[in-house]
C-alpha cells in the first residue's frame, strides 16, 4: 500500500466540512482545495484517500478533479503560481504580450514550473479585475496594470533567473 499523504490535520479540516452539506460528495471540492493548498497538487494517492473519507469511488473524485483547471496531479506547482489573464479587456491592453514575455524570460511555457520551483506560469481567462488590465493573480495578490517592465520587476522580486540575469533555469 502506498504511504498516506493526507495528514491528520488535513483529514480534520476535511471532516469539518461534513456538517455543511447533506451529502459527503459535496465535500469533494473543499477537500481538493485543502489538499491542494498544502501540497500544491493533488496526487492520485490523495484522491484515493479523499474518496475513502467521502465514501466515494476514487474515480468519482478523480472525475471531478480532472474537470477543473486548478488541480495539478503529477507534480506540485511552484512556490508562486501566476495566473496571467488573456481575456479580452486584458488582451486589449497588452496582456498576451505580458504572458509571452514572462514565459520567454523564465524559459517555460504556460502550465510549466521553473526548475528551481519558484514559479509556475498559467494563462487565465478573465480574472474579474478588468479595470486594472492587464492583470495577474498570484495567491491573494493581484498585480495590476502590468507592463513588460513591471513583469520584469515581478520576476526579479521572486528571484526567478531570466535570460537577462543569467540563464533561465527552464
Amino acid at each position: 500500500m502506498s504511504e498516506r499523504v493526507l495528514t491528520d490535520e488535513m483529514v480534520a479540516a476535511i471532516k469539518a466540512y461534513f456538517p455543511r452539506y447533506p451529502t459527503r460528495q459535496a465535500v469533494t471540492l473543499p477537500a481538493l482545495h485543502i489538499v491542494n493548498e498544502k501540497l500544491r497538487h493533488v496526487p492520485l494517492q490523495a484522491v484515493v484517500e479523499i474518496a475513502e473519507l467521502l465514501e466515494l469511488a476514487p474515480a468519482q473524485v478523480q472525475d471531478t478533479l480532472s474537470f477543473y483547471g486548478l488541480f495539478k496531479q503529477d507534480e506540485p506547482h511552484g512556490e508562486h503560481r501566476a495566473w496571467v489573464c488573456r481575456s479580452i479587456s486584458c488582451a486589449l491592453r497588452g496582456g498576451e504580450e505580458v504572458l509571452d514575455h514572462l514565459c520567454k524570460s523564465a524559459g517555460i511555457r504556460p502550465g510549466e514550473t521553473t526548475a528551481d520551483a519558484k514559479l509556475t506560469i498559467e494563462y487565465a481567462e478573465c480574472l474579474g479585475v478588468c479595470e486594472f488590465a492587464p492583470a495577474i493573480l498570484d495567491g491573494t495578490r493581484t498585480l495590476k496594470n502590468m507592463t513588460i517592465e513591471s513583469a520584469d520587476a515581478y520576476l526579479a522580486e521572486l528571484g526567478v533567473r531570466t535570460k537577462t540575469n543569467g540563464e533561465p533555469t527552464g
Binding site: 471540492l29 474537470f67 479587456s89 491592453r93 481567462e125 478573465c126 488590465a133
Partner: protein, 451 residues
C-alpha cells in the same frame, strides 16, 4: 430628473466599509430587523415581485416570479444558491460588492432566504476572488456572533446558515445548473431543464439561484419599496412582448480602451455612449471607438454606429446582440482588428465549453481552429460562411445544446462577421492572396495553448 444617488455603491469608498461596525452605522441590518418583525415571507415575495426586479446575473429573469415557482408548502429543506461565480469576461461588479460591502450581500441574502423559506444558503464563489473569500467569511462570522445568522435570527422563528463554497476555475460553474452539479461535488455539467432548480435543484431539493447584485437589490427593495425601485429605469418596450421593463439601479462595468475603466452605478437604461463618455472618461489616447462589447463577450458586439444603444434588458437585442448580459462594456479603439477580437472570444469559449454537447464542444473548437488559421494567413472567404453556420446552429435558441454557453459563443461570431464582414474579407484577401478563394478542405493547424 433628480441627481442619481448611488444605492448599491453607497458604502463603497468609506473607510473599513467591509466591517459590520461601518455597515451598521449606515443603517445596515435595519431592513432585516424590520422585515423579521413586520413582514411575512410572502409579503417580501410580493414587494420583490411588484418591483419588477429582474436578475442581474445575465438572463434577466424576474426574481419575484422565479421565487413563486417554488412548490407551496414544501416540507423542506429549500436551498438558496447565491451565484458569485462571476466569470463573464469584462465583468467585476460582484467582486466589488463582495470585497467592499460584504454585509450588503449578506443582508440581501438573508432577506432572500427569508422570502423563499430557504434555511441553508451556499455562496458559490469563483476561485479567483481570494479577497472576497476572506471578506465574506469575516462578514459571515460577524453575523453569527451578532445573531443575524444561525438559529432564531433576532429572536424570530427564522433560522438560516450561510456557507461559502469555493469554485475551481471553470466558467461553466456560473450557469445555474452547472453550479448545482459543481456544488454537489461533480463535474459542472449543466442539466437539461425542466425540471427547473425551483422544483428540483441542489441535492434534489427546491433551489433558488440568484446573483450577488440581485440579492443586493432585494435588500433595498424591501427597505424602500417597489415604487421607489420602479422610479428608476425604462418601462417595457410595447413592441417587444417579451420585455418586462428594466427597473432599478445597475452596476455597469467598463474596461478596455477608455481613460477611466471601472464600475459605475446608474439607473438602468444608460446608453453605451453615455457610459463611455460620462463615466469611462472617453476613449483613450484621443482615439475613436470602433466597437464595444455590450454586456460581457457572450452578448456579441456593437459597431461604432450602434453606441447609442440603451443598456437595459431590451436595448442590445434591438441591434442583434444577445441581450444586456452582465452590462459589462469593453471598448475597442480604431486600431483593434476584429479578427483579433473574434479570435479572442472563440478561444475563450473553446476553452470553457464543458464538452457535454457535441455541437458546442466541436463548434467552439472548429471556430477557434478557423480563427487560428485566418490569423496565420491561411484564411479563406468560405471560412466566414462556415463560421456563420456554426454561429447559427449552436445554442439553446436553435435547440441544439443544453445550456446557454453555446449561445454566448455564437453571438460574437454572428455579430462580428455580419457587422464587420468587409474587414474580414479584406483581411483574408490581403493575408492569403493566393488561397483566399480555395473551397476544398484544408488541414487544420495545431491549436496552441488551448488547455
Amino acid at each position: 430628473m433628480p441627481k442619481f444617488e448611488p444605492v448599491l455603491l453607497a458604502n463603497i469608498g468609506k473607510q473599513d466599509s467591509h466591517t459590520l461596525k461601518v455597515y451598521e452605522a449606515s443603517g445596515g441590518y435595519g431592513t432585516l430587523r424590520k422585515a423579521l418583525k413586520d413582514m411575512s415571507p410572502s409579503a417580501v415575495v410580493d414587494v420583490v415581485k411588484s418591483s419588477n426586479l429582474r436578475g442581474r446575473g445575465g438572463a434577466g429573469f424576474p426574481t419575484g416570479l422565479k421565487w413563486t415557482f417554488l412548490p407551496k408548502d414544501h416540507p423542506g429543506p429549500i436551498y438558496m444558491c447565491i451565484n458569485a461565480d462571476e466569470s463573464e469576461p469584462a465583468t467585476f461588479n460582484n467582486r466589488i460588492l463582495m470585497e467592499d460591502d460584504p454585509h450588503q450581500v449578506i443582508e440581501g441574502s438573508i432577506l432572500s432566504c427569508f422570502a423563499t423559506r430557504a434555511t441553508t444558503a451556499y455562496i458559490y464563489l469563483r476561485y479567483e476572488y481570494p479577497v472576497a473569500l476572506e471578506r465574506l467569511q469575516r462578514a459571515i462570522d460577524e453575523c453569527y456572533a451578532a445573531g443575524y445568522l444561525g438559529k432564531n435570527i433576532l429572536g424570530s422563528d427564522f433560522s438560516l446558515d450561510i456557507y461559502l463554497h469555493r469554485g475551481a476555475a471553470a466558467y461553466i460553474c456560473g450557469e445555474e445548473t452547472g453550479l448545482i452539479e459543481s456544488l454537489e461535488g461533480k463535474r459542472a455539467w449543466p442539466r437539461i431543464k425542466p425540471p427547473f432548480p425551483a422544483v428540483e435543484g441542489v441535492f434534489r431539493k427546491p433551489t433558488v439561484v440568484n446573483n450577488i447584485e440581485t440579492v443586493c437589490c432585494v435588500r433595498h427593495i424591501v427597505d424602500r419599496g417597489a415604487e421607489w425601485f420602479k422610479s428608476m429605469g425604462t418601462p417595457a418596450n410595447p413592441d417587444n412582448p417579451r420585455d418586462a421593463g428594466s427597473y432599478g439601479p445597475k452596476l455597469y462595468c467598463i474596461s478596455g480602451h477608455v481613460n477611466k475603466p471601472g464600475c459605475y452605478e446608474a439607473p438602468l437604461g444608460l446608453t453605451c455612449r453615455e457610459l463611455i463618455e460620462e463615466f469611462g472618461g472617453g476613449v483613450w489616447k484621443g482615439r475613436r471607438a470602433k466597437a464595444a462589447v455590450p454586456g460581457g463577450i457572450s452578448m456579441g458586439v456593437l459597431s461604432a454606429e450602434e453606441l447609442d444603444t440603451r443598456l437595459d434588458f431590451d436595448g442590445p437585442g434591438r441591434v442583434d446582440c444577445l441581450g444586456l448580459g452582465t452590462a459589462a462594456v469593453t471598448v475597442m479603439d480604431e486600431t483593434v482588428s476584429m479578427i483579433d477580437f473574434l479570435h479572442n472570444t472563440c478561444r475563450f469559449f473553446a476553452h470553457e465549453s464543458c464538452g457535454q454537447c457535441t455541437p458546442c464542444r466541436e463548434g467552439t473548437h472548429w471556430a477557434l481552429q478557423m480563427m487560428d488559421r485566418m490569423r496565420a494567413g491561411h484564411g479563406r472567404l468560405r471560412d466566414l460562411d462556415l463560421l456563420l453556420e456554426i454561429g447559427d446552429t449552436i445554442g439553446i435558441m436553435p435547440g441544439t445544446t443544453i445550456c446557454g454557453l453555446a449561445d454566448g459563443a455564437a453571438w460574437p461570431i454572428k455579430n462580428a462577421i455580419r457587422k464587420f464582414r468587409g474587414e474580414f474579407e479584406e483581411y483574408i484577401k490581403r493575408t492569403n492572396p493566393t488561397g483566399y478563394m480555395v473551397t476544398e478542405a484544408v488541414p487544420a493547424l495545431p491549436v496552441v495553448q488551448l488547455h
